[in-house]
């Protein structure tokens, strides 16, 4: 009876894994992050940031004396895992709140689950659908794509650009941006002549940019969050397109600038101020927070800080602040967040309300550009 023996072993294994965890008086925070897999450039810095923050908070004695217990689940950016882990965190770990997921697709898959489980969800993904329609327990910390698009269009107006080409990657980020661009463009008198989606893992995009070139546009917007966006701008310049190139806030990672080298020069994009923290005037309300986070992160992990880690930072800090204020009561914390005003985070100044579970406005974005391989504020 080989099968029977094996079954016994398997069951025994399960029992072992299932050993109960007796937690002390802690605040359990779950995190669903794409630490590995195709969206690891989002999830990995987010996870690192959360670990750093929790360590710091706990070292200070926790929030109101309660330590934070952080449970990070690596979803590898696949929705079915996000679903499974979300249920696990809610039903089983009975977490206080969930931070993440990193991608919009995953967030949308578990939005209902968090809602049904009455568990706070602080998403680190960008898409507007996450908070529109508003779900009672679902918040998000990254800026609105809508606002980024508006900032870009406003800039275009200044530059007298009306005919554009749009490229976006086939990820949730790309999709969300593309939809906003399509929706908002007419209001700003912008005409989209080419609108193409490329593969997130593309290795060369000469053909795609050739299509843009053929359409005789005045500017290009590229909306993506993966490394391929560095390839896009290289290819644009290589085939001799000299028109202005706009990127999304997904460009907020100095690695992409390094990868694109000379091609990154002059790219215009909206972003949070984290990337230009050092150059901000001391009057800027965000400066202290940004510099502090940047310094700590870069000292601890010996790598450049990125805006994505910042989304994790904001989520954790908002949660911590609300818990500090309202105590470890889910409902009260939720209400506190919903009414939180003037919270200074890396992405901007958050002003939540019952209708707005993002709390950021147009001002969260600054138009940046790349000069000599560095991010600087775009001034024109």
């Amino acid at each position: 009876m080989r099968i029977f023996k094996l079954l016994t072993v398997v069951v025994a294994c399960f029992a072992l894994f299932a050993a109960p965890v007796f937690a002390a008086e802690t605040v359990k925070v779950g995190a669903l992050l794409a630490v590995t897999g195709p969206a690891s450039f989002l999830g990995a810095p987010e996870a690192k940031t959360l670990e750093m923050l929790v360590e710091e908070i706990n070292a200070k004695g926790g929030i109101n004396g309660k330590k934070i217990e952080l449970i990070i689940k690596d979803t590898q950016a696949s929705p079915e895992k996000a679903v499974s882990f979300a249920k696990q965190l809610i039903d089983e770990e009975k977490v206080f709140a969930i931070i993440g997921p990193s991608t919009s697709g995953e967030t949308m898959q578990i939005k209902n689950i968090a809602e049904a489980g009455k568990t706070l969800l602080l998403s680190c993904a960008a898409a507007e659908v996450i908070v529109n329609p508003v779900a009672k327990y679902v918040f998000k910390t990254p800026q609105m794509d809508k606002h980024a698009v508006i900032r870009i269009f406003q800039q275009m107006k200044k530059m007298n650009i009306s005919k554009i080409g749009v490229l976006s990657s086939n990820t949730g980020f790309g999709k969300a941006g593309k939809e906003q661009i399509e929706k908002i463009a007419p209001e700003h008198g912008i005409q989209i002549l080419v609108n193409e989606v490329y593969d997130k893992a593309a290795t060369d995009l000469t053909a795609e940019v050739t299509k843009v070139k053929a359409a005789n546009v005045q500017a290009v917007i590229n909306w993506s969050i993966e490394p391929a966006q560095a390839i896009v701008i290289k290819n644009i310049r290589q085939i001799g397109l000299t028109i202005p190139v706009f990127q999304s806030h997904g460009f907020g990672n100095i690695n992409y600038v390094k990868a694109a080298g000379a091609a990154a020069e002059g790219v215009i994009f909206p972003a949070g101020r984290l990337l230009v923290a050092d150059t901000l005037s001391d009057k800027n309300p965000q400066k202290a927070v940004l510099v502090d986070y940047k310094k700590k992160y870069e000292a601890k992990y010996k790598e450049d800080v990125s805006t994505f880690g910042g989304h994790g930072y904001d989520a954790m800090m908002i949660l911590a602040k609300a818990v500090e204020k309202a105590g470890a009561d889910k409902e009260k914390v939720r209400d506190t967040i919903e009414t939180m005003k003037g919270f200074v985070g890396t992405a901007g100044v958050f002003n939540f309300s019952a209708e707005d579970h993002n709390g950021l406005d147009l001002n969260a974005f600054e138009m940046l550009t790349v000069k000599d391989g560095k991010f600087v504020v775009y001034e024109k």
């Binding site: 053909a207 299509k211 390839i231 290589q238 990868a259």
Partner: protein, 296 residues
């Protein structure tokens, strides 16, 4: 304008094609001596790029690439010796699964070693925005480098397999392991050698294309799938055919973008290729005669 566009798409297709072709060749080398489709071939490309980038911070570019190639060859040989050498007549599917396992392990090791960020070597000549212009059609110098190195690889491989004793020995192993052993050929070493060779070519490719494609721990899988497709479509065992099939796939993809939404690029290219495969089941350029004589 039409002609210019045509050639610009063609250039794009050639760029894609070279990358696919060079991976496809690696598949063929291992297949030729062992009958194994080595799905870890994409990982060799990744390792070549990653190691070269890492070494480049210490060494000049050509030396860094050479060292990366040698190191990857050693890794390839090591993988063969650890996982494959001692298996007695393994079934095809078993080998496919083992190489998939190896590819996953290598990828995960790379993730934990290098992290998730992308890197790339500098352009060999010029920089990210330089390009040669041929009557309005613009080509990045790195594309020419890649094309050139790909041709050198293909030509030297062909010469190697056709005219050197070692190449002939490797082909003999591919044709009939036992018979090769009975001719006094150390068959196991040939297999190790073929893994090292495939790894070396993959690594060289990985280093050369990295300025174009960039490289990160996860780049191998996608390339392996494309390389496998190309190797099969060309007709397994024929490196020249893999190159041709690579260009066909690249050009199909690029021209499909011209007329269709780019999101369906893969679907269109693969559909056309499958249709070709159904018409010619031995691959586009597979020698029908040799195909019949081979034992699958």
């Amino acid at each position: 304008m039409f002609l210019e566009l045509f050639f610009q798409y063609l250039v794009a297709g050639l760029t894609y094609g070279t990358i696919y072709a060079i991976v496809g060749i690696g598949f063929n080398i291992v297949y030729n001596t062992t009958g194994i489709i080595n799905f870890a071939q994409g990982e060799f490309v990744m390792l070549g790029g990653m190691i070269a980038v890492s070494l480049h911070s210490l060494l000049p570019l050509p030396i860094a690439i050479a060292a990366a190639v040698v190191l990857t060859m050693a890794i390839g040989a090591l993988i063969e010796m650890t996982f494959i050498r001692w298996l007695v007549k393994p079934a095809v599917l078993r080998m496919i699964i083992i190489t998939i396992g190896i590819s996953i392990l290598v990828r995960e090791a790379a993730l934990h070693l290098w992290g998730e960020s992308v890197r790339s070597l500098p352009y060999f000549t010029g920089n990210e925005i330089s390009a040669f212009s041929f009557g309005g059609v613009r080509v990045s110098p790195q594309v020419l480098w890649t094309l050139g190195i790909c041709s050198v690889i293909v030509i030297s491989l062909n010469l190697f397999f056709k005219y050197t004793m070692l190449g002939r020995e490797m082909r003999a192993c591919a044709s009939n392991r036992d018979a090769a052993a009975l001719c006094g050929i150390p068959t196991r070493n040939m297999v190790t050698l073929s893994f090292a060779l495939a790894a070396g070519i993959g690594a060289l490719a990985g280093a050369v294309v990295s300025p174009i494609t960039q490289t990160s721990y996860s780049i191998g899988t996608g390339l392996a799938i494309k390389g496998f497709t190309v190797a099969i479509l060309g007709g397994l065992g024929n490196s020249m055919a893999a190159v041709a099939a690579g260009f066909i796939l690249g050009i199909l993809e690029s021209f499909s973008i011209w007329v269709m939404p780019t999101a369906y690029k893969d679907a269109i290219a693969i559909t056309i290729l499958l249709a070709m495969l159904f018409v010619r089941p031995s691959g586009l350029f597979g020698n029908k005669e040799a195909f019949r004589l081979k034992d699958f």
